[in-house]
Subunit: 514 residues, 2 copies
C-alpha cells in the first residue's frame, strides 16, 4: 500500500512536470508581416513560372524560407492595410469588422476621399478595440490576447495600425501584447532614416513619427534594421525563460515614403532602375535581410526547430501613385495594385515553415485569406476552445500544411465600399479601385462595381491577369456566384455605400442580379 | 531498494517543485520614484514635527504607506535627477559614475551652463550604458538586468532619463527591463495634458514629448493618471503568471512644466495659493493618487501581502526658478532646493513597506542614499552573489528594515562639479548651487566650495536648517572629515573642475585643507 501511495503521488507530480514540459514544447510562432508588399515583389516566384519582376528583386531569405517550407500561391488579404491587419488579429472578414478602409492615426477621421456619387459611410474608422462601446470601432478578442492567456510571451514589433489615437486599439498592450516596440496608431513611418530620427525631428514630427527607437537616432541605422534588432532583443526574454513566444514582426517596409535603404540600393541603380524603383527594391531587400537575421537568430539560439515562421503581406503592391514607371505594371502579371480588388491589390506572397510539419519546398494553391491566420495560429499554439466576443470567419490552414487535400470551396470576400483615391472614372474601372467588392470562389472571381452595379467574372485558373471578363458569356455562373456573394455579405453585416441622390444603399450583389 | 529508489526520485521531483514554489514566493518589488519632489512636499512629516508645508500639501496615500511601513527621515539622493537615477540602477555613487549632471536627451551635449572660472568637464554626459566603450557613458550592470536574469518580470513605467538618444542607455530594454512604457531619453514631459498629447502635437513635438501614450490623446487623462493605468495594465501579466515582478514606477510629476492637475487644483486655489504653487500642489496630489491606486490594485489582486513598496524622490524640490513665492522657502525648514548640496537639494521623502518585515508606523533616522537601492533590492529579491562590471558603493538598507540597530558611520557623497544655472556668485553661495561637493558623515555635513576651496560644516543633529556654519570653530573636525571626504572622492575617481586660467583641477578637499 505504501508503495502504491508513493507511486500514485509520484505519478501526480510527474504528470504535472510532464504537462509543464508539454507546455514548453508548444511551438513558437512568428508572423513576419510586410507592409504594402505585392505578390511579385520577390525573387521567389509565386506564379507558375519566373516572371520579370522576380528577376528584378532580390529576396534570398524568402527563397531560403520557401525552400524549407510551403509556398501558398493563392493567399489573399484586403486591398488596404488596416482591414487586413484587423482581420488577421480577429479572424473576422473586413466586411464584418466594418473596418474596410485604412484608419487615420487621429480619432474620428474618415480617411475616405470625398465622392460625388456616394455619401460618407458609417464605417469603423477608429479601427479595432478591446473595449466594448468604443465609438466607431469593431469590438473583438484578438488572438494575441488568447495566446497570452495560454502562457505565450507575446511581442509586437513595428507597424501596428489597428486603432486610432485616443482609443484603446492605438495601444498594442490592449490587444494582447506584453511587449510593444514602435507599434502605434500610425500606418507608415514618417522617415526610414535614423538621421531624421524616423520622423521625430523637433518641431517636425507628425503622427507618423515612429516611437521607441531613440537608441538609434543618428546612428545610420535604417528603420528596417532598428526594428530587427529590437525584435531580437525582445526574443531574448522568452527564450531565456523557455516560454513559447509569439512575435508579430511587422516591418514598416515597403510602405511609402519610398526611401532608399543605403545598404542595398546601389545594385538596383546599377541594374538601370529609376531612383524610385531602385529605392523600392532596396526596401524589399532590407526587409528580406530582416527575415534572414531572424531566421539566423533562431538557429543560433537553438529554437529554430520549434519555431513556426509565417511570411505574409497586408495588401497588394502599390501601383498607382508614388511609384516609378507606368500604372498597372508593378504587380505584373497581376492586374492593378493596392486599393484594388483585382489580384494585384489582394494576392499576397505567403510562406509557412513549421519544422516537423511542413515539407520542404512544397507549394499549396488552395485559396487562403488573412482572417484564416486567427484560427490557424490558435491551432498551432494548441489553444483549444476559446471564448471570443466576435464571430470568426477565418478557417484554419493548418490542415493544408499537413496534407495536400484540397479544402471545400468557400467565398473569400474583398470588400471596399470606399473611395481610396481621386482618379478618373475610366481609370477606376480599369484598375478596380474605389467602390468595389469582390469574391473569390474556387477558381472564379466575381467583381461587383458599386458605382454601376455591374459584374465582372474571371476564371483565375485560365486568366490570372483578369483581362477576359466572362460576365456576359457565363450569365448563369454570375447569377449563382452573386447569390453566394450577396448572402455572405449580408450574413457578415457588410456595409454598402449610400447614393447621395436617392439616399438608398447600393443593392447587394444578389439583389442587383435580379 | 525499489521503495528507496522511488522515494529518492520523488524527492528529486519534489525538490524541483519546491524550488519553483520558493521562486514564486520571492517578493514583488515596486519602487515608486517621484521626480523633483522635496522632503517637505507631502502631508507626511519627515522632520521631528509637523511643518507648515506638511499642512499645505495633501498626500493621503503617502500617509497610508508611512502608517504601515518605515519612514526614513535621513534619506538622500544627488542634487539633480540623472545622477540619482543612474546611481540607483547601478549602486555606484555619482562621483564614480561621473554622471554628475542631468543628461540632455541629445547625444554628446554638455548640459552645463557656461562658466567664466571653470572649463567644461569631461563628464559622462551621455549617461549610463549597458555596452562597454559607448562614448561618454558609465558602463555598468543595472540591477533590473540581474532581477530579470533571476526570473523577475521587470517593468519600467514613466520617466527613465538614464541615457541620451543615439546610445543604448536611451532604451530601458537595454538596462534590464522587459517592458517599457513612456521611458526614454527625455527628463521631463513636454506637457502633462492629453489635449496637448503630452507634447506630441504635429509640428510642435520636441525631445520631451512623452512616447507610448497615444491611447489617451484628447481623452482628458492627465499624464500622471495615464502612467498609472499603464502600470496596472503591465502588472496584470506577472500577476496572472504568478511571477515575481519589479516595477520601476517613475512619475514624471512633479517636474516642470508645473501644470495644474485639474482633478486636484481647485482646493489649492481655495486655500489661497498662487497659480504656480496651486498647480505644484495638484501635481503632488495627483502623484499621490497614483501611489494609492497602485496600493489598491495590489490589494484587489491579492498580492499586497507579498509586495514591497519603496517610495522615493530623485532630488530636492525645485526652489529657484519656475516656482511661485520666494527662493529658499520651498523646502523649509531645509535650506535651498534642487541643484544644491544643502539639505533642500538632496534630502528625500523615503518610505519602505515590506509586509511581514517592516513594522507599521516606524521611523528610521539612519542616513541612507540612493545608491543603496541597488544592493537592497537585490537582497530583497534574494539574488545572491551577482556579477557586476562596476564597483558598488551602496550598502543594503535591508538590515535597517529588520531592526533598529544603527549602522556604522560612512561617507555619503553629493558631488556636483557643474554649473547648473546662471545666478550671481553671492546667490550661489547662499543656495549651495554650482560647483559644490558635500559629504554627510554621521551627523556632520561638510561642504566644499570648489570656486573658493572653502569649507562649511554643519551639525545636522542640531542645525537641520544649515544656518550655523561651524567650519571656523570646529577646525579639527573639518580636517578629519576633509581627509575622509578627499580619500573617498579619489577612491571613486571623482572629477574636479579645471580652472580655465591655470589649467589645473581644483584640489580635493583633503588637499585643500593642508
Amino acid at each position: 500500500m505504501q508503495i502504491k501511495k508513493i507511486i500514485l503521488l509520484l505519478l501526480v507530480v510527474l504528470s504535472g512536470t510532464n504537462s509543464q514540459a508539454q507546455k514548453n514544447a508548444r511551438p513558437n510562432i512568428i508572423v513576419f508581416l510586410v507592409d504594402d508588399m505585392g505578390w511579385m515583389d520577390t525573387s521567389v516566384p509565386f506564379a507558375d513560372s519566373i516572371m520579370p519582376l522576380n528577376r528584378r528583386y532580390h529576396t534570398p531569405n524568402m527563397e531560403r524560407l520557401a525552400a524549407t517550407g510551403v509556398k501558398f500561391t493563392n493567399a489573399y488579404a484586403q486591398p488596404v492595410c488596416t482591414p487586413s491587419r484587423t482581420s488577421m488579429l480577429t479572424g473576422m472578414n473586413a466586411a464584418r469588422t466594418r473596418i474596410t478602409n485604412w484608419t487615420s492615426p487621429d480619432k474620428n477621421i474618415d480617411s475616405d476621399a470625398g465622392d460625388q456619387q456616394f455619401a460618407p459611410l458609417g464605417w469603423n474608422r477608429n479601427g479595432l478595440s478591446s473595449v466594448p462601446g468604443t465609438g466607431h470601432t469593431a469590438y473583438a478578442t484578438p488572438f494575441p490576447q488568447l495566446l497570452k492567456e495560454a502562457g505565450y510571451y507575446t511581442i509586437q514589433v513595428g507597424k501596428a495600425h489597428w486603432g486610432a489615437a485616443g482609443t484603446p486599439g492605438a495601444n498594442p498592450y490592449n490587444l494582447g501584447f506584453m511587449v510593444n516596440i514602435a507599434g502605434h496608431a500610425g500606418g507608415h513611418p514618417q522617415s526610414y532614416l535614423s538621421e531624421q530620427r524616423y520622423g521625430n525631428m523637433p518641431g517636425k514630427a507628425q503622427m507618423q513619427a515612429v516611437p521607441d527607437l531613440e537608441e538609434y537616432y543618428d546612428t545610420h541605422t535604417f528603420l528596417t534594421e532598428a526594428l530587427t534588432r529590437e525584435a531580437l532583443k525582445a526574443l531574448e526574454n522568452p527564450i531565456r525563460r523557455k516560454e513559447p513566444f509569439y512575435l508579430n514582426m511587422c516591418q514598416y517596409a515597403v510602405h511609402t515614403p519610398i526611401m532608399a535603404d543605403p545598404r542595398f540600393v546601389q545594385k538596383y541603380y546599377d541594374a538601370g532602375l529609376d531612383s524610385v524603383e531602385a529605392a523600392y527594391a532596396s526596401l524589399l531587400e532590407g526587409m528580406d535581410k530582416s527575415l534572414g537575421d531572424i531566421m539566423d537568430y533562431l538557429q543560433r539560439k537553438g529554437v529554430a526547430g520549434n519555431t513556426i515562421v509565417i511570411f505574409m503581406s497586408d495588401n497588394g503592391g502599390l501601383d498607382h501613385h508614388q511609384r516609378g514607371g507606368a500604372v498597372n505594371t508593378h504587380n505584373s502579371p497581376l492586374r492593378s495594385g493596392k486599393g484594388a480588388v483585382y489580384e494585384g491589390g489582394i494576392r499576397e506572397p505567403m510562406i509557412v515553415k513549421w519544422p516537423g510539419v511542413t515539407r520542404a519546398g512544397t507549394v499549396n494553391s488552395s485559396p487562403v485569406i488573412i482572417e484564416d491566420f486567427f484560427p490557424s495560429i490558435l491551432e498551432m499554439a494548441r489553444v483549444g476552445s476559446v471564448h471570443t466576443v466576435q464571430q470568426v470567419d477565418g478557417r484554419s490552414f493548418v490542415p493544408l500544411l499537413k496534407n495536400i487535400q484540397k479544402p471545400a470551396a468557400r467565398p473569400l470576400i474583398f470588400h471596399y465600399p470606399h473611395k481610396w483615391i481621386n482618379i478618373r472614372t475610366n481609370e477606376e474601372a480599369k484598375l478596380g479601385i474605389n467602390y468595389y467588392t469582390a469574391m473569390r470562389y474556387d477558381h472564379w472571381k466575381l467583381i461587383y462595381r458599386m458605382r454601376t452595379q455591374g459584374f465582372e467574372l474571371y476564371d483565375l485558373s485560365k486568366d490570372l491577369r483578369e483581362t477576359n471578363d466572362l460576365a456576359q458569356v457565363e450569365k448563369e455562373q454570375v447569377k449563382k456566384l452573386a447569390l453566394i456573394f450577396g448572402r455572405t455579405l449580408k450574413e457578415r453585416s457588410a456595409q454598402m455605400p449610400v447614393d447621395k441622390r436617392t439616399g438608398k444603399a447600393v443593392p447587394f450583389p444578389d439583389e442587383a442580379i435580379q
